[in-house]
C-alpha cells in the first residue's frame, strides 16, 4: 500500500523538472518537451486523486489533458518549424527580437 503523498511527490518532482527545463534550456524543442513533462506530472496527480477519492472523473480529465496536449504539440511544432525557416536557428537566445 503506497501512501497518496508518494504519488503527489513524484508528480511534483516531474512538474518541477519540467519548470526547471523550461527555464534552463536554450533549445526551443527541449523547452517544448519540458512543457510536455509538466503536463505529464499533472496527469499523474489527477489519476492519483481519482484513485484516492474513488471518482472516475479524474481519469476522464486526464484524457482531456492528453487531447489538449496533442493539439498543442501539433501547433507548437509547426510554429517551431516556421521559426526555424525564418531565423535559421533553434536557440531561443537568438530569437529575442521581432526584427529578423
Amino acid at each position: 500500500m503506497v501512501p497518496l503523498s508518494y504519488y503527489l511527490l513524484l508528480s511534483g518532482f516531474l512538474f518541477g523538472c519540467g519548470v526547471a527545463g523550461f527555464l534552463i534550456k536554450r533549445n526551443i524543442i527541449t523547452i517544448f518537451m519540458s512543457i510536455e513533462l509538466m503536463l505529464n506530472g499533472v496527469n499523474l496527480s489527477f489519476v492519483a486523486f481519482a484513485a484516492h477519492w474513488h471518482s472516475l472523473a479524474g481519469q476522464v480529465f486526464v484524457f482531456f489533458v492528453m487531447v489538449v496536449a496533442a493539439a498543442e504539440s501539433a501547433v507548437g511544432l509547426a510554429i517551431i518549424i516556421a521559426v526555424y525557416r525564418t531565423r535559421e536557428t533553434l536557440n531561443v537566445d537568438q530569437v529575442n527580437l521581432l526584427k529578423l
Binding site: 513524484l10 527541449t30 518537451m33 505529464n40 489519476v47 484513485a51 492528453m66 517551431i80 536557440n91
Partner: protein, 172 residues
C-alpha cells in the same frame, strides 16, 4: 516492503531518472528519448492505480504519437547540440537551486500535512466501459469541444508548416 511499493519505486525511479536526464542531456534527441522513457514509466504508474484505459491511451497517444512528432521535428530540422550562452549559465545558477528549494519545501509540506492514507494497488479500476459512460454522458460537451479544438489545431498546423508561396512566385 510490499510488492506495490517495490513496483511504485521501480517506475518512480525511471520517471525521476528520465526527467533528470532530460535536463542533463545537451542533444535534444537524447532528451526526447528520456521523455519517452518517463511516459512509459508513467503508464506503469497509472496501471498501479488501476487506470488501465488511461495507461493504454498514454502509450498510444503520448509516447506513440506526440513524441514521434517531436522526434520527426528533431530529425527534420537537424537539431544539434545545445551551446552554452550567457543567459543559460545565469539560469542554471539561479534556476536549479531555486527549483530545488521550492520542491524541498513542497515535499515537506505534502509529507507533513497530507494524510498517510494508502492507495491500494489497482484502487480505482478504470474500465473502458465506465470511462465511456462518464465521457459520453456527463462530459459530452467537453468531448465535443475538444474535437473542434483538434480540428482547429490540424488546420493551424497545416497552415503554419506549409512552405511560403514566395518561392513559387519568383518563377514568373
Amino acid at each position: 516492503m510490499s510488492f506495490h511499493l517495490i513496483l511504485f519505486l521501480a517506475f518512480g525511479a525511471v520517471c525521476v531518472g528520465g526527467s533528470v536526464n532530460l535536463l542533463a542531456q545537451r542533444h535534444p534527441i537524447n532528451s526526447a528519448l528520456s521523455l519517452i522513457a518517463v511516459m512509459a514509466a508513467l503508464a506503469g504508474e497509472y496501471l498501479l492505480l488501476g487506470a488501465e484505459f488511461v495507461a493504454a491511451v498514454q502509450v498510444i497517444v503520448y509516447a506513440g504519437a506526440i513524441m514521434v512528432l517531436f522526434v520527426f521535428v528533431i530529425m527534420l530540422l537537424n537539431a544539434g547540440e545545445e551551446e552554452e550562452t550567457k543567459g543559460s549559465r545565469v539560469a542554471l545558477l539561479l534556476g536549479v537551486p531555486g527549483v530545488l528549494t521550492a520542491s524541498v519545501l513542497m515535499a515537506w509540506v505534502v509529507l507533513r500535512h497530507s494524510g498517510t492514507e494508502a492507495v491500494a494497488i489497482g484502487a480505482l479500476p478504470g474500465h473502458p466501459t465506465d470511462i465511456a459512460q462518464l465521457l459520453f454522458h456527463d462530459f459530452l460537451l467537453p468531448f465535443e469541444v475538444t474535437s473542434v479544438l483538434i480540428l482547429i489545431a490540424i488546420m493551424g498546423a497545416v497552415v503554419l508548416a506549409s512552405k511560403p508561396e514566395s518561392a513559387a512566385r519568383k518563377v514568373d
